[in-house]
């Protein structure tokens, strides 16, 4: 009986998705929306299945994933050290705070034309914009984490005789980790968003963004929904992966 209840409790998470699919199915069957705009879930899933099985979708999936991770890697490698420097030095932080806030509030997609001018039309422009957007997020979060390191822990290390460098390595680094992971997680999501949009609107031979917009152009809506679903799976997967990393490395977060 206990076991049954536990299973039931676990199945609760499925309620939301099933409701959506049910609603979708009813809407399609009752023709609330024109079947041209909303194919029924069954044919969408069938399309998805064939695309996956025949492998047509893989090149696009891989293209988007690689570009996203590439942009993210650049952002992380450039963002973490810069964030630490910013967070550790009030003067530097204050001098660039406005610029960072400004660009953080500017939609990265507004920068497309600029990046196209600088990097030319092509894949690297897409990666560069995405990297820039993710870099800002990571930079800001790391700096924030360093700045908000608990003062008492820093004092504790100092009173025990730690040098400035040791305080940095032994305390500030760990103190900033939780916020750094938040930055990485948000950063990778941001990179994915920008890459998808870039694939749609600044030429690209493959990628999920490309695939979605191509399907839309030829009015293959089952294909379009299938591709949107796959993109969602990619985004969700990245999120779950980074959450797991975070849980593993900063189990003490907030303690």
């Amino acid at each position: 009986m206990k076991r049954f209840e536990a299973t039931l409790a676990r199945l609760v998470v499925l309620v939301g998705p099933l409701l959506i699919i049910g609603l979708w199915w009813v809407a399609a069957a009752a023709k609330w929306v024109s079947p041209k705009l909303l194919p029924d879930p069954w044919s969408t899933l069938q399309t998805l299945w064939t695309s996956v099985m025949e492998g047509a979708i893989w090149a696009d999936f891989r293209g988007t994933a690689v570009r996203t991770l590439y942009a993210f890697a650049i952002a992380a490698v450039a963002g973490i050290p810069a964030g630490i420097v910013l967070g550790a030095n009030r003067t530097i932080y204050r001098s660039v705070e406005f610029a960072i806030d400004f660009f953080r509030s500017t939609p990265a997609t507004a920068m497309f034309p600029l990046f196209l001018l600088v990097f030319g039309i092509g894949e690297f422009s897409q990666v560069a914009v995405a990297a820039f957007a993710a870099w800002l997020v990571i930079l800001f979060n790391v700096a924030y984490g360093v700045m908000n390191a608990r003062q008492t822990r820093i004092l504790a290390a100092r009173v025990m005789g730690a040098t400035t460098g040791q305080v940095f390595r032994h305390v500030m680094f760990f103190e900033s980790l939780p916020q750094t992971f938040v930055g990485l997680r948000v950063g990778v999501s941001m990179a994915l968003v920008v890459i998808i949009v870039a694939e749609m609107f600044i030429g690209s031979s493959n990628g999920m963004g490309r695939r979605i917009i191509d399907a839309q152009q030829v009015f293959d809506l089952a294909q379009m929904y299938a591709s949107i679903l796959v993109t969602g799976v990619l985004g969700y997967g990245l999120n779950v992966f980074f959450l797991a990393l975070e849980r593993h490395f900063v189990r003490w977060s907030g303690k």
Partner: protein
Amino acid sequence: MNPVNETLAMNAVPTPLAFPPANEPAAPEPSARKAHVTIRGLTKRFGDQSLYENFDLDLPRGRVVTFFGPNGCGKSTLINMICGLIPMDAGEVLFDGKTREETTIGYVFQNYRDALFPWKKAADNIQYPLRLRGVPKADARRRVEELVAEFEVKFDLNRYPWELSGGQQQLVSIMRALAPRPEVVFLDEPFSALDYEATLSIRERLQATFMRSGVTTVIVSHDLEEAVYLADEVFLLTKRPTRVAEVVDVGLARPRGVQTLSQPDFVRTRAHCLEVFQREVRR
């Protein structure tokens, strides 16, 4: 024996330990009365409000000193300045004639949760000051074993601080402070975040350690009974700009226990401290 040192009560800038109590011609245990920490000409201001003006203080060697004074009179600021955690505007602090950098001290924070490193296990927290000094891992581990025996620790130190109770965490903090065998230990309201049971138990163990090692100990307390109970000498502080109103000698024998709290000497000393405190607060 009169536990109270009346001669100092009205001194503007008292240098308490230079005066033996009025009716005790011979200072008790001359060696114990020698100053360990000397503070001279300490000045500290925040904005235009003055916290300490040309403040002098001697802390006696091998004794337990407690600081008691009104809220915000600068007790934490004082011990933080002595420990070099916040800068003084002027003045000098010497430990046995040595500077702060040349001296090993221990410091126990009120907020154990924010003072321990949650990414390190309790045992590694205790070893941290030793490892900073380059003590080999094996020796550091042996020192932890010693402290475990000394403090009769019954819980598992291979756990993370956040897996321990508040009392256990504060005990770990104290062990960490004592690990490098400091010359002076400072504790800033170490019990104020703990429940009564934990407070009693840690107090007893602290007293036992003190009796064994005789380390010079400075405790800030906001509880007068506790300040008298723990101390060899209670330093009563005034409102800002802060001075020492009086140094009260507590001549109660150790080990002290629950029965101490009802001894006439204890009750009298506490009443006297309260009187001085109230006079200073009203002034």
